[in-house]
Symmetry: C2
Subunit: 316 residues, 2 copies
């Protein structure tokens, strides 16, 4: 196998891998060090997270392109008012004025995660902070789905896109984390840049068919995802043609036939974001390689109930 | 006020206090250091936990009198088979052979907490371990509901009961934690021992009326709780007569009238174990002093939604 890191993401009989979505968004604030540490402490070995860059070129872990009022407070502890600032327009120092420790229970987004603990004084972390945590001896077997968020305002700006990829890759290389990282995006042009700039890391192609709704209260990736007009059965071949190693369909899109096609093409398949027990059970039955969930504890318990596990015996 | 620690448990306009039940049983294994640390990390300042003693007199944090097969694995990682051993019949060293890190998803008890993460290699902690954690500077404002579990087999053995109280109190005094601890039990005879042996700590009287069912899959405390034949309106006066400072009714028992009686008698009222959103909202509306929940994050979010908080502004 060309990419040894793929093994950590590959299922086998009795094993479906488990990725914590933005840490464990159902339990703790997303894309925070607090959330990642909790997720790792519960024995989850794969983390999914989102990165973009600040105005001064610091790679930070956050999902939306703008600080979002349902999940960010200002320096005085109030939910953001007025225009939501763009992350790319702020310096890292400016970004540290904001509190990313909790959701506004009154917002549509906040209502999606009613059990998420409410913390204060939580900062948007740098990618480098997470990579440093993963150097600890107990975290040597942790691997990453590193999702690079493509700015829809800059879709035509190939230089900006390439700069973002270079900045992210520099952080990963600086921490020598390439053997534990997969580069992941909805933007397939950006993934082509990844493959050229960082051929030592596998490319992971996210898809979501237009007919399934985007998630309420967060940036949609549909604008940058080139799958309009496709059927789910077209997607594995398209990923293989683009020389991807991973196919990551939305869980409502995938079918048994599509999974067979992906497997025949040598792709590793991760489904996102699977939270309801009946959906998790359906993905277990389907036999995907990886389930990505906001509730990793729930997935652990449902796997065990079926006599399965999220790690092969030798890795437990 | 005779007991300064009561302030940390007392509600006020806009504030209902929040206690993490056995840590945060909905999220992480109950009565474990892992669960307590998580709960504290989410800004919860009150912990509820259960203690009993091993054969060699070590106070340990666990709820049931017997190691229970739905939540304990043996040294080989298998769910307990055969007769469940009594905690009081094991030494502390023997107890450390068992793994308390997760629930059996197939058991009735396991099904009550489907999101609880599944850990391995987790040990039943000593009370002294938790008290040591609470010495850290960031945890100086954490207070405890320390529930002493009375063995139904030894109800008539007043010497054994007194020995248990003395052993628990010795641990608390050794850590100088009396100013942050409330002694809590369903067994009112045991609470009388507490009041005599440790008059520096308030006594907290748990109640559950016989008409409301005990919780599935765990030891019931009804056998030791002297409330048969009572109406909920009788309970506050009975606690006051017994010179208790806290009344802790089951959340399905309490009424607005009973709460008024308790308040008029100067009692602090904590309700347990409130997990469903509609029940939490009802307790918020009722205006109890403390809500004890397996899902502290959920209670935080519901309090904030009503413009309330679990801490007064000066303590945040």
């Amino acid at each position: 196998m060309r990419y040894p890191q793929i093994r950590a993401f590959t299922g086998e009989p009795g094993v479906i891998r488990l990725a914590g979505h933005r840490g464990a968004r159902g339990v703790l604030p997303e894309n925070t060090m607090e959330g990642f540490e909790f997720t790792l402490n519960t024995g989850v070995k794969l983390l999914e997270l989102d990165v973009t860059a600040t105005r001064d070129g610091v790679v930070v872990i956050t999902h939306n392109h703008r600080l979002t009022r349902s999940m960010v407070r200002d320096a005085e502890g109030n939910w953001l008012q007025g225009e939501e600032p763009k992350v790319a327009a702020l310096t890292y120092a400016e970004l540290q004025q904001y509190d990313a420790g909790g959701l506004d229970s009154s917002s549509a987004y906040g209502q999606r995660f009613p059990d998420q603990a409410f913390l204060s004084g939580v900062r948007i972390p740098r990618l480098a902070d997470l990579l440093a945590l993963l150097q600890r001896p107990q975290h040597q077997d942790v691997h990453l789905f590193l999702e690079i968020k493509s700015d829809p305002d800059l879709l035509a700006d190939t230089a900006a896109r390439q700069r973002l990829v270079e900045t992210v890759v520099a952080d990963v290389r600086n921490a020598e984390m390439q053997p534990r990282t997969v580069l992941h995006s909805f933007d397939w042009d950006l993934l082509a840049d990844c493959q050229r700039i960082a051929p030592e890391m596998p490319a992971s192609f996210l898809t979501q068919l237009p007919e399934n709704d985007a998630d309420v209260g967060e940036d949609s990736s549909k604008e940058v995802n080139p799958v309009a007009g496709c059927s789910v059965l077209d997607l594995p071949a398209r990923v293989a043609t683009a020389k991807g190693q991973f196919w990551c369909p939305y869980y409502l899109d995938i079918t048994a036939d599509a999974l067979v096609l992906a497997r025949d093409l040598g792709l590793t398949t991760m489904v996102w974001t699977v939270n309801e027990p009946e959906d998790i059970d359906r993905m277990i039955t389907l036999g995907v390689d990886v389930i990505c969930s906001d509730y990793p504890g729930r997935v652990q318990r449902l796997l065990l109930k079926q006599g399965m596990h999220w790690l092969p015996a030798a890795e437990r």
